[in-house]
C-alpha cells in the first residue's frame, strides 16, 4: 500500500515539475525573443518562420547609441578602411553614423533617456522607501490619534487608477513648470509608491520587537540613534523588498512619463516605442533598447534576491 502511495506521489511530483517548466517557458519566451532579436542582423529579425539559429552580432547596440542616416552611395574603400570597427557595422547595414562638423559622433536619444530613467527611478525609490520607513516606524511605535483613519487615508490614495488624474496633473504641472522635469516625475512616482511603501514597511516594523530599541535606549542611545543603529539593520529585508517593488513601478511607468515629459526628462519607456515609426523601423534596435532596459531591474532584483525571498513572506521574518 505504501509503495502505491509513494509511486502516486512521485508521478504527481513529476507532473508538478512539468507544469512548472511549461509556465516558466511561457514566461521566459518573450524575454528570450527580445534578447535574441537584440543580437540579430536586421534582415533576420522579421523572417517567417522565425530564425532561431543565427550568428549573433552587436550592430543593433551600435545603432541604438548612435544617430544614423541612410547611405545614398556606398562608402569608398578609403572611408570604409578609415572607419572604426563599430562604424563599419553601420555601413554594412546600409547606413552611416551622423557626425558633427568637427567629426564628433552624434549620440542617439537613447543614452539620455536611459539616464533619465535611472535618475528618476533611483531618486523616487530612495524618497519613497525613506519616507515610508520613517512613517511606518512612527505608526508602528507611537500611539497616534486616529492612527487607523490615517493609515486608511494613506492606502486610499491607491484606490484610484492613476491615469484618471493624468489630465488634471498635467495641467497642474504645466502651471507650476514641473512638466518635462526630472523632479516632476520623481515627485509623481514618489507619491505613487509612498502609500505602498508605508503599508509594507509598517508590516515589517511591527515585526521588529520594540525591546531591541528599548535595550538601545537603556544602553545610552537616543531614539534616533537606536533607529539608525538597531531598527534600520533589522528592517533591511523589508527595505530591500519595498525598494525592489518601488523601483520596478517607477522604472516601468509609461503613461505619466508619456504625458508629462517629451524631451529633457523623458524616460526610456515612452522613448523606445517612439522609435518604431521614425523612418524605417528597425526591430533589432528596438529590441536592443528594450533588452538594456530590462537589465537594471534584473540586476537589482538579483542582488537583493535573498532579502526578497524572506521579504515576500511578509510578517514571517522572525519572532
Amino acid at each position: 500500500m505504501a509503495a502505491v502511495t509513494t509511486s502516486t506521489e512521485r508521478s504527481l511530483n513529476k507532473l508538478a515539475i512539468v507544469g512548472v517548466l511549461i509556465v516558466t517557458i511561457i514566461f521566459l519566451a518573450p524575454i528570450y525573443w527580445i534578447a535574441s532579436t537584440a543580437f540579430k542582423p536586421r534582415n533576420l529579425a522579421t523572417t517567417i518562420p522565425p530564425t532561431v539559429v543565427f550568428q549573433p552580432e552587436i550592430s543593433p547596440f551600435v545603432k541604438l547609441f548612435t544617430k544614423r542616416s541612410q547611405l545614398r552611395t556606398a562608402p569608398t574603400p578609403e572611408q570604409y578602411a578609415a572607419a572604426p570597427w563599430w562604424e563599419r557595422l553601420v555601413f554594412d547595414g546600409g547606413e552611416k553614423v551622423v557626425r558633427s562638423g568637427r567629426g564628433e559622433v552624434q549620440w542617439s536619444g537613447y543614452p539620455n533617456r536611459f539616464m533619465n530613467s535611472l535618475i528618476v527611478a533611483i531618486t523616487s525609490t530612495i524618497l519613497a522607501v525613506g519616507m515610508g520607513t520613517f512613517t511606518a516606524y512612527g505608526f508602528s511605535r507611537f500611539k497616534i490619534k486616529g492612527e487607523q483613519d490615517l493609515l486608511f487615508f494613506i492606502l486610499s490614495t491607491r484606490m484610484l487608477p492613476p491615469v484618471v488624474v493624468a489630465i488634471p496633473m498635467f495641467l497642474m504641472y504645466r502651471a507650476v513648470g514641473l512638466n518635462d522635469t526630472h523632479w516632476g516625475l520623481i515627485i509623481l512616482y514618489t507619491a505613487f509608491n509612498l502609500s505602498f511603501s508605508v503599508w509594507l514597511m509598517k508590516g515589517f516594523m511591527d515585526e521588529i520587537p520594540k525591546e531591541y530599541e528599548e535595550a538601545a535606549l537603556v544602553d545610552g542611545y537616543t531614539r534616533i540613534e537606536a533607529f539608525f543603529k538597531i531598527v534600520l539593520p533589522e528592517a533591511a529585508t523589508g527595505i530591500a523588498a519595498t525598494a525592489v517593488f518601488c523601483f520596478i513601478t517607477a522604472w516601468n511607468e509609461y503613461a505619466f512619463a508619456l504625458i508629462m515629459t517629451n524631451r529633457r526628462a523623458q524616460t526610456a519607456p515612452p522613448f523606445i516605442p517612439s522609435q518604431v515609426g521614425s523612418g524605417l523601423s528597425d526591430w533589432t534596435v528596438i529590441a536592443a533598447g528594450t533588452f538594456l532596459f530590462l537589465l537594471p531591474v534584473a540586476i537589482f532584483t538579483f542582488l537583493l534576491r535573498n532579502h526578497l525571498l524572506r521579504g515576500m513572506s511578509f510578517g514571517a521574518i522572525r519572532k
Binding site: 520587537p209 525591546e211 531591541y212 528599548e214 535595550a215 538601545a216 535606549l217 537603556v218 544602553d219 545610552g220 542611545y221 537616543t222 540613534e225 538597531i230 539593520p233 533589522e234 533591511a236 522572525r318
Partner: protein
C-alpha cells in the same frame, strides 16, 4: 553607591491605574525582587525606573536626585530583558561593546572591558558568534554581560530567566547570585516565580494589582506575611486558609475550623491577642502552612481525628489533604507516612506557625504565639 527611591509613584494605562501610590526605598548593593502575578504592575515599575515608561505622578529618585524627567539613556541604568533583546545583526562582541560605544570610549578601552566581562561570564569563546547561534543560557549570559559592561549605577532585570527551561533556570539563578555577590551592584529583579524571589533576594517586594503588599526579607515574607494575598502567594504548596472560630476552653483556647465538630488546641494568649486586634469572630481566618499541620498515625494528646483525603507524593515529601469539617487542610508529611486515602489519622496545628487574618481587610492580625 546607588540608592533608588520611589515616592508616591502613580501610573495609568488609559483609565486603568497600574501602579498605585508606590513608595519604596532600595539601598546600595541591595538585591531587590519585585514579585507578583502577571499584570500586577511589577514590570511597569521596573520600566518606570529604567525610563522606558513615563509616570503620571510621584518621583523616581536615583541617589536622591529626581530622574523621572530624564531619558533612559541619561539615567545610567542597565537592563536585562526577558527576551534577552540581543541585537541579532551584531556579534556577541559587538553586542557587549554597544553600550560602551555610546560612551564614546576608545577602541582599546572597549576591547579590554568587553574581554574582561566575557571572562567573568565565561563567554570568551562566543565573542565572534551571532546571537542566533547561541543557546538560551548563553544568550542570557551575553545579555547580562551587555548590562554589566559599563558598570551602571543599577541593574534592572525583567524576568531574565523566565524563558529558559527548568534546569537551566536553576543554574542561571545560582550564577546571577554569584555575580551579584562578586560585582555588588544595586539590582532590581522582576519575577512571578516565588522560588526565584526567595533564593535571590535580599528583600522581596510583593505587589498585587498595582499596590505594594509587603516588603521584607525572604524569611520575613514567608513567616510573617502581612496579609492574605502575601500568605497565599508566597510558599509552595500554598498556605491553608480557613474561616475559624476561637473559644476559651479551660486553660487553653480552641480554634475551630469552619464546619468542624472539635477545635484545635492553642495557647490561652491567643484570645488576649485577638481581643487586642478587635476583630469579630465572623471576620476571622486561620492561616497555616502545610508544614505547620502535624500528622500522627495514632491518637495523641492534642491531636484530633481527621480523614486523609488525597495524597500527592512529591518525592522528598507528601502533601496530604485532611478533611477537617467542611475544609481541607493540606499537611506536609514524610513520604509514604499516610498509607492510602480514606484512612483516619490525627492532626494538630503548630501554634507558632499559625497566622490569623481579618477576612474583610485581608490584613494579618499580627498574632505571635
Amino acid at each position: 553607591m546607588t540608592q533608588i527611591e520611589l515616592r508616591g509613584v502613580q501610573k495609568f494605562f488609559g483609565a486603568v491605574q497600574v501602579i498605585k501610590d508606590l513608595n519604596l526605598k532600595i539601598d546600595d548593593n541591595e538585591f531587590i525582587v519585585l514579585l507578583g502575578q502577571s499584570g500586577c504592575g511589577k514590570t511597569t515599575t521596573l520600566r518606570a525606573i529604567a525610563g522606558l515608561e513615563t509616570i503620571d505622578g510621584g518621583d523616581v529618585l536615583i541617589d536622591g536626585k529626581p530622574v523621572q524627567h530624564l531619558k533612559a539613556a541619561d539615567r545610567d541604568i542597565a537592563m536585562v530583558f526577558q527576551s534577552f533583546s540581543l541585537y541579532p545583526h551584531m556579534s556577541v562582541y559587538e553586542n557587549i561593546a554597544f553600550p560602551l560605544r555610546a560612551m564614546r570610549k576608545s577602541k582599546a578601552e572597549i576591547d579590554g572591558e568587553v574581554r574582561s566581562v566575557a571572562k567573568v561570564l565565561q563567554i570568551n569563546d562566543l565573542l565572534g558568534k551571532k546571537p542566533s547561534a547561541l543557546s538560551g543560557g548563553d544568550m542570557q549570559r551575553v545579555a547580562i554581560g551587555r548590562a554589566l559592561v559599563r558598570r551602571p549605577k543599577a541593574m534592572l532585570m525583567d524576568e531574565p530567566i523566565g524563558a529558559l527551561d527548568a534546569k537551566l533556570r536553576e543554574e542561571m539563578r545560582a550564577e546571577i547570585k554569584r555575580l551579584h555577590i562578586k560585582q555588588g551592584s544595586t539590582t532590581i529583579y522582576v519575577t512571578h516565580d516565588q522560588i526565584e524571589a526567595m533564593s535571590l533576594a535580599d528583600r522581596i517586594v510583593i505587589m498585587h494589582e498595582g499596590v505594594l503588599q509587603q516588603v521584607g526579607s525572604p524569611s520575613e515574607v514567608y513567616t510573617r506575611p502581612a496579609n492574605l494575598f502575601v500568605a497565599q502567594f508566597v510558599g509552595s504548596p500554598v498556605m491553608n486558609v480557613a474561616n475559624a472560630a476561637v473559644t476559651m476552653n479551660g486553660s487553653g483556647a480552641r480554634v475551630t475550623v469552619d464546619g468542624a465538630a472539635e477545635g484545635f488546641l492553642f495557647p490561652a494568649e491567643l484570645v488576649g491577642q485577638l481581643d487586642a486586634a478587635n476583630v469579630g469572630q465572623d471576620r476571622l481566618a486561620l492561616g497555616i502552612r502545610p508544614e505547620g499541620v502535624m500528622v500522627s498515625r495514632e491518637a495523641a494528646d492534642g491531636y484530633l481525628p481527621v480523614e486523609a483525603h488525597i495524597i500527592e507524593p512529591l518525592g522528598s515529601y507528601d502533601i496530604v489533604d485532611l478533611k477537617v469539617g467542611a475544609q481541607m487542610l493540606r499537611a506536609r508529611t514524610r513520604s509514604g507516612f499516610v498509607g492510602k486515602p480514606g484512612v483516619q489519622v490525627f492532626a494538630k496545628l503548630d501554634p507558632a506557625q499559625a497566622h490569623f487574618f481579618d477576612t474583610t481587610s485581608g490584613n494579618s492580625l499580627g498574632v505571635r504565639l
